[in-house]
Symmetry: D2
Subunit: 362 residues, 4 copies
């Protein structure tokens, strides 16, 4: 595991926030897949910093350089490596961090794990910047899946206490997913944007940050994908989605709401529609026994507020083993949720591509 993931389509992610760059090797891609580089750039750009007043002002082009596995724009079947340079690195912001771990970050746990040798500059390999190569790998998979009639997209369900409405899990259409994708605040109801921006602005003024929830769907996945027990769709998706920093929860279909349901309400009845077996509702989120039903796969992930805040925080001085106060001066996102969305979509795309490939469907 660690920074490698996958069974049939595998990724190996490397890099640090303030090192030379970040990147990914994707192994096991089908050969003969034309990649639309503009589309890859588009997805990279959705996640890139510096594109919105609510995001960190750190400006990174996040131009993906493909080093291998592609010949005249078409996959060769060999590992595809992509490197994304770090351009705008200001390491001066983080000098004290090896002594004073930032609350909510991996500074302390990483130091214990790696005996203090971990690169703490900007969070090092634990940084949210590592979602750039993940987003790239997912964008590649999205294109391959699109050719099989599968679309993956999502929206911001909540920022702080401001909620948009959720997907109707029976009626999620590819065109809609594509159109939402075009907005930095990807919303079902665009009118929430103003309120969400207000919540973020307010937090920022207080030197604080806010969290949120994203909802992602995969439509067009055929029935019968996934394997029993530990190879189930929920297992595989969650095993990669928790690789996106700040995710603290995941739920599928009706999710935590199933707790208060009765079986007669929760069970999705079957019917025949256009000679095809479908369910008449979709509380299971398109997954039963870990295997796809053919209905939309729907999941939600909870994103914690950016741990980097401007307020003074209580921490410890690891060298002197005493309590200390910490003020973080760097550039930070008061709300990471809009930028987390493409990363989580990417994770879902990788999971579905991997499972499709495992069952010989890619």
């Amino acid at each position: 595991m660690a920074s490698m993931w996958g069974n049939s389509i595998k990724i190996s992610i490397f890099g640090e926030s303030h090192g030379m760059g970040v990147g990914v090797v994707i192994d096991g891609l089908p050969a003969g897949e034309k990649l639309d580089v503009e589309q890859l750039r588009f997805e990279m750009n959705r996640r890139a910093p510096g594109n919105d007043p609510t995001a960190t002002p750190r400006k990174e082009a996040d131009e993906p350089e493909i080093c291998s596995g592609l010949l005249e724009g078409v996959t060769t079947g060999a590992p595809l490596c992509c490197v994304i340079e770090n351009a705008n690195v200001r390491s001066v912001d983080y000098e004290r961090l090896s002594r004073l771990p930032r609350p909510g970050h991996a500074d302390y746990t990483g130091a214990v794990r790696f005996g203090g040798w971990n690169d703490v500059r900007g969070g090092g390999h634990f940084s949210g910047r590592l979602t750039a190569p993940l987003t790239f790998a997912g964008a590649v998979c999205k294109q391959i899946l699109a050719r099989r009639g599968i679309t993956i997209g999502g929206h911001i369900l909540a920022i702080g206490t401001v909620y948009d409405h959720a997907f109707d899990p029976m009626r999620i259409y590819p065109e809609r997913l594509e159109s939402i994708r075009g907005h930095y605040f990807a919303l079902l109801n665009a009118e929430c944007e103003q309120q969400m921006r207000a919540v973020i602005a307010e937090a920022q003024e207080d030197g604080d940050s806010v969290g949120g929830i994203v909802e992602v769907a995969a439509v067009g996945v055929p029935a019968g994908i996934g394997t029993p027990m530990f190879g189930g769709v929920e297992n595989v998706i969650s095993s990669i989605v928790f690789g996106v920093p700040a995710v603290k929860g995941i739920e599928f279909g009706a999710g935590f709401n199933v707790a208060r349901m009765r079986g007669s309400e929760c069970n999705d009845p079957y019917t025949i529609e256009h000679d095809k077996v479908v369910t008449t509702q979709n509380n299971c989120g398109g997954i039963l026994g870990g295997i796809t039903t053919g209905m939309p796969i729907v999941l939600r992930a909870a994103i914690k507020p950016t741990p980097s805040i401007a307020q003074k925080q209580h921490t410890v001085d690891l060298r002197e083993k005493r309590d200390a106060l910490l003020t973080i001066n760097g550039r930070h996102d008061p709300c990471i949720v809009p930028r987390a969305l493409p990363a989580i979509e990417a994770a879902v795309a990788l999971a579905i591509a991997d499972m499709m490939s495992e069952t010989g469907r890619l």
Copy 2:
């Protein structure tokens, strides 16, 4: 993947609900570990059917027979295989199921996945009965972890709309976890039991079922366990917990509540206590950047209501490709939550043992 799981301590689960039995091979266990068979039986019994009026009357002794890997009660380092016989199999209940898939079960998805060759009797390999070997494997790990000062236990947080209070994530004590474990309704506040039983009884009278939420903690896990990105504690735990049928969501620490928090509230400040770095609150559930902080690991899993209900349900006749009505006559749990708890504890124990072993700490 499929029914195998693990990196360093690995399990391979086999069997069907109405076949000869179910079982598990555990590979990679440390050698020299004395196993307390009575304690293993105790854990098996927590999960076994037939022990409470709210559970299915199917009576199974669930006696684990250890076939290998144990010599005079001590692990040898070789794979430990355990077989649990199916005694009380009444397959007549399920005869029509290959034609009429039960809503909420894996009958339909399993049939698509395996071309109609899957064993549908009692759900076959998708049955909740497969949590018996999982519970066994977890019980073995619990004993091994206990020797390293780690205790894993949990409680029922909710059944239907009846909520017990949650763990105080700063104050979870091994003795408390052990004492809760002794009750079929494992509760922090024992007074909830009556209300919960009432909710279940009511559903049962209606030929219906109810879901719930369990909360599990691991205390004593040292800081520095887990690996970055995809080998993080949340990734590893969720990759196995979703192997317990009916789980539709998982959250760690403050979980979905992080969405509405601000960073200043969500971040857990550090302090020095008895010369040790600790946090003064535990919203992260003992995990930062995928790596343990040394504080209690806390997670919640949502359990859907048992899909087997006595009420007539809409389904399809797969052979004749037409709508149909289904009445399920078998013996079922109106509420699976109390029996799911030891299975989820077991999954968590396996995940932690695996990660401890991976970092050479077992």
Copy 3:
């Protein structure tokens, strides 16, 4: 790794020589495969002890009991578990072994690896008896592969200094492989049997044992199976074949002879035959760049002489840390080669089935 193996079709082997039994879980088998139990028994019997005067007199029926994954003789897609009981266990033979490690066995290395907790009775989990479940799993794969036009079979190439001739790697026919399989001394030239038996008898008289070489072929494997670098056919086959105790070398095609060849001789020229690309010789053993050419896959494995011999041997007393003499009194094979052959065929069958499955060809 350890006693689990495989990427797409996976096995988990358990058991000890003198425990309750041995067995295997096979996960990832295609569903809908009818298994011919008589054929499985036939393969088990080829490997079973007690069937020939040159083999150990330990008599084991080696009756495979299938516990899961099979319904009315057809695979369901769920893990198939098979248990083989140990009937004829005489543990008295091995009492001193935890103190006096047998040269050539894993007694000492196993004791170091597992801190002295390993089961040394009959070699425990390191015993050649563990090839029984391997042979079973391979026999299952052989039937599945046969349905795809693939036959795996082999012969004894050498016992001691007595050599049969090798396969002509251009002309290996399924019928021939099937007919050889029927003989305990599976030979291309049946006339070698007498000489080979004489060599074994002579060694036995001296309280000694002899080694040999087996040659195995897989015919009918389509071109294009395997993956580059570490997923190549040689990598995958060798990763499982060395799981058969006593194998100390493996070579593919011309093998070690390539060392003395020139490129002009070693390279296999291509031609078109019946509209198909074939090579006009087969020094590469059907594998180039780790990927199958469509020609027969040919490999040889070196089997060391059974380390259990009746002669007095020098060893050490591990408890008292001093030199010691050891006489082994148990029942042993003076030559394991004929019984190793079906195990190695099985390993090859598993490797090919796994790779076929990985590329969606099963």
Copy 4:
């Protein structure tokens, strides 16, 4: 699998012979390991082309650029990525190759495997050039292992019919391994060099190539490394060594010679030396039951003659499906053996580091 390898220390190799470059990600390295870059360059240089009249004149600096995982020369525990640029690419040499597969190369099998989309220029991802990142990764492991008292080194045992003498498997000393390493023709008996060069020169004059055998040893590996059955040292080493193109056989200890031995000769007796259990001979090559004995690990690998030769060869025109003649004009090694040696040493170093790490010994 594919181009990823490893359980605890894992590598992901990417790149093509005539693309932008080649590289590797190494995941799971211990943190806090100082890397001596000069030593890494030295190992890279041993493998690099253009350094000897018997090697291809293609000149590549093979300067490894480390992109991640290293901070001030010390490993951080995060994935270490190294990229090696391709400088001297002359793709014109290979233009016809997608139509006319070169005998002995992976052109044809790769085309079948990847539907004709594979990069054939210089062999693409199948090229021997991919041993550059492998050699790098192994060189990193060699340094880490050296700190644990383990030395890995080897020599050319044979080129064509010219044989040097083999290691005395009881007497292999680190200093000797280090001194041999300094020579392009790494030999135990330096006097063989002239004869070997003559054999190569002769082949080259004929527009031909020659193969050979390398022998590699690992000394200082403690007893008890490796796991039973499929996690054995032979399994793990062979699973990576066959990733070096042109390897067609591998043997451990006495290897194929065990076939003609008797047990009384083959078994390595134990004795106590300096209070330590050792064997008095080492036919097992330091491995029993897949687990190390503490004696030197010794293995040999057969390297086929470079398939690229100047002579006209029979092949087929894949587009027109007819026989054809092929003359290869590129720059090639008449003998790859000296350059294969550091790659195989590297593979062995990775295998041992991985197994050491798996048992918590790194």
